[in-house]
Amino acid sequence: MEDVEHIEKKMKLIDENGLRLDGRKPEDMRPIRMEVGVLKRADGSAYIEWGGNKVLAAVYGPREAHPRHLQDPTKALVQCRYNMAPFSVTERKRPGPDRRSVEISKVISEAFDSVVFSEQFPRASVDIFIEILQADAGTRCAGLTAASIALADAGIPMRDLVASCAVGKIDGVVCLDLRKEEDNYGDADMPVAMIPRTGEVLLLQMDGHLTLDEFDKAFGMVKDAIGGIYEMQKDALRKRYAVTAEEFSDLPEQAPPERRAPPEREAPPEMPPEDGEVPQ
């Protein structure tokens, strides 16, 4: 009952033609643009614009974990810090971590933990920094997607890229990639991260209300979307290395940009393996 009342009062999110506020169909994503290697100081970095989201990701490591008592003698720590800039949201956010960003940092760290070959770097840390510069719902998916290619840019050995997207329900319709008004006034939101090639789900959260059928539909929809994002990630990485190669050929005299060699690092897989073989 209360749900009905709630729906009646709230903003109409899908029009008579089945289109969303910004003219998208339920299965449409917002425009996405990504770029690898955008920061000078970080070992790896990426920038993503995803609808109204502007997100930077940077990676440092593998480097000595500190403080020392947190070191794991068997593997590298994979730790993510998700942070929103104070001006990224409508109402200014106080600087520093709040409970929401602590939780998101935790689930993103866990999502990457089994993908990075962390056993190769005992006592080390791989540090992922995600900065939300401008927020418009779906920031954790955007950040995770960018962090994945920033890890590749840093030459961190990984089983594969991770890609992420959210799916939700608005006005009773399962829709992909909610924007802010849809998230605020919608019925459900479900961010998902996967290894696109294998379908392994590394991040899954959901709140609101989904029937079992809706869940199945939503899952199928977001799986497809994640496949598309994976292709964009690979394009962005290819573009980066193509440009680098070009730069090198243009500037034969200049030394390659300095980058700290990680301890005993394997040759970085510039591109994720296309076949299903997982090295170990």
Partner: protein, 256 residues
């Protein structure tokens, strides 16, 4: 400081789980004995002490007067906190809540808030000015695995017996308006084996965790995947099924 576990133990717990009989004698689809003692704390407007096996959680609900959020001027406010006090485990430390505790609190909070468990409109006294604030504090007293579910059952049980102290403002006390009874069930994946309501040892060696909250209609109200491992779509579907099955008897106990 995290708890370490030997390879031997790890192997032993996995073998048992894989064999269909777990270290504590349960089947993979079996929840530990659950006891709920409501109204445990007289100074709270609602409370419940929940024992899920040896995991022991005390939840108190305080309902106080306050100001609504500007963007929901005619709704009461929910504030949920979890404390993993050092009494409950040698590996819990005092100090501000760590990510583990924050995740539990937030998952329980979303499970209540986004599932429209409470009719917050009925906690408004004067729009924009005065509403009831519900503080749900989850106090973990003894940790033996699966805090997500124990804390969630404690919170739901405490809410179901909470009285809004409207007599403070010259009206009559009334029960908190509960609309739904979502029940969370957590599964642990140990290599290829899935068990629900993992105990402490199982949790320590689990590769991945999945919490599913379902409501009285069999719909999904919240999900949260944790730990470094992964789930396939089929595994997720299976956990949803297990959650639906296990939730009914638990819901009865929470509503009792």
């Amino acid at each position: 400081m995290t708890e370490l576990i030997s390879e031997l133990q790890r192997e032993r717990v996995y073998r048992l789980a894989a064999s269909g009989t777990r270290s504590d004698g349960r089947t993979p689809e079996e929840v530990r004995p659950l006891t709920i003692e409501k109204n445990y704390i007289k100074n709270a407007e609602g409370s419940a002490r929940v024992k899920l096996g040896n995991t022991d959680v005390l939840v108190g609900v305080k309902v106080e007067l306050g100001v609504p959020y500007p963007d929901t001027p005619d709704s009461g406010v929910l504030s949920t906190g979890a404390e993993l006090i050092p009494m409950a485990s040698p590996y819990f430390e005092s100090g501000p809540p760590r990510p583990d505790a924050i995740e539990i609190a937030r998952v329980v909070d979303r499970g209540i808030r986004e599932a429209h468990t409470i009719d917050f409109k009925k906690l408004c006294i004067t729009p924009k000015e005065k509403v009831w604030i519900c503080f749900v504090d989850m106090h973990v007293l003894d940790y033996d695995g699966n805090l997500f579910d124990a804390a969630s059952y404690g919170a739901m049980s405490a809410l179901t017996c909470t009285k809004v102290p409207a007599s403070k403002i010259g009206k009559e006390d009334y029960p908190l308006p509960i609309q739904h009874y979502p029940v969370s069930v957590t599964a642990a994946k140990i290599r290829d084996v899935i068990v629900i309501d993992p105990n402490r040892q199982e949790e320590q060696i689990a590769d991945a965790r999945l919490t599913i909250a379902t409501d009285e209609n069999g719909d999904i109200r919240a999900m949260q995947k944790g730990l470094r491992g992964s789930f396939s779509y089929e595994e997720i579907s299976r956990v949803i099924g297990l959650a639906l099955k296990a939730s009914e008897v638990i819901r009865t106990k929470i509503k009792a």
